[in-house]
Amino acid sequence: MSGPVRPYVITGGRSGTNRPALAIESLVSAVPAADLDPDLRSGDTLNREHQRILALCHDLLSVAEVAAHLRLPVSVVRVLVDDLWDLGAVQVRPPAPQADRLPTHLLEEVLVGLRQLR
């Protein structure tokens, strides 16, 4: 868990942004340090948990995995990743769109993948 600080403290009292909540299966990766706004790297815009997320996500992980590895509640990680997204510090890949009304193409892709892995 996150130590002595309760979740609402970490997120500055916010429980979400105006955007729809990030899906638990959304994928996150940190923008390479060289491409970051210099203010972000040095300033105090980012709290310790933001920085832990950036350090963890040098490659691609889901919101759920970030929460598990950092031992933070998913709801907290959602807010923090949203902050980082707003700041341009992470890239977020939303869930694969279930194209149109019926996701036949996506389901076919899942099925083919599973059959190959079985």
């Binding site: 990766s29 490659d59 598990a68 036949t104």
Partner: protein
């Protein structure tokens, strides 16, 4: 802070010290399927049999009262419940990953469901036929939330053989809900259940398109 755990099994791989297993950078997005059922039915076991990574555990904080009601007073002492969610992952191809979320199937966890089920391809409801009544709530919830699902009987050594029709009527399942069987510990059997379920979702979707 009230705390309740939905952990099905002890001895789930902890995350402490485990190096993260990253997805290939080529993955463009993920999909998810829920694995649900009553306490102790074997959700984490099934997730573990399918997952390419040791199942991870994460926590979701659930505010038990006043869901959707603004907290005007800003009081931090609302009653919250911490729910443990075990999940796993399958990289299906270089572009697409599948996450499997073990989702507690007891009524007190319904507040979590809206969020967890949004965008899910569907759910596999694990059933223990020695205690069918414990699955009634979750099956009702799946129907009410209109989440496409299949029933998978987790076959334990002393599980009696039930004819499918008996099971279907005992669980009051619609004819289109598949009833599958597996030993949730067995990777091949678990894969067969997942493949049969996705195949069912696809046939249903194709039928809908033709309508």
């Amino acid at each position: 802070m009230a705390s309740a755990s939905s952990a099905d099994t002890t001895g789930t791989a902890g995350t402490e010290g485990d190096a993260p297993s990253y997805l290939p950078a080529t993955v463009q997005g993920a999909v998810k399927i829920l694995v649900t059922g009553p306490f102790g039915v074997g959700k984490t076991t099934l997730v573990g049999a399918l997952s390419e990574i040791a199942p991870l555990r994460t926590e979701e904080v659930m505010t038990s009262a006043g869901v959707g009601v603004d907290d005007l007073t800003g009081r931090p002492d609302k009653t919250t419940t911490t729910v443990a969610l075990d999940f796993g992952r399958i990289t299906l191809n270089p572009q697409l990953a599948l996450y499997l979320f073990g989702t507690p199937g007891q009524q007190r966890f319904w507040p979590l469901w809206e969020d967890l089920s949004r965008g899910a391809l569907g759910a596999i409801a694990l059933v223990d036929t020695r205690r069918l009544d414990e699955s009634f709530d979750v099956l009702g919830q799946l129907e009410e939330q209109r989440i496409p699902f299949a029933v998978a009987v987790n076959v334990f050594p002393d599980t009696p053989e039930h004819p499918e029709d008996d099971l279907r009527s005992a669980l009051d399942l619609l004819p289109e809900v598949p009833i599958l069987r597996c030993d949730a510990r067995d990777r091949q059997a678990a894969y067969d259940v997942l493949i049969d379920f996705v195949d069912h979702l696809l046939s249903t979707a194709v039928l809908e398109l033709q309508r």
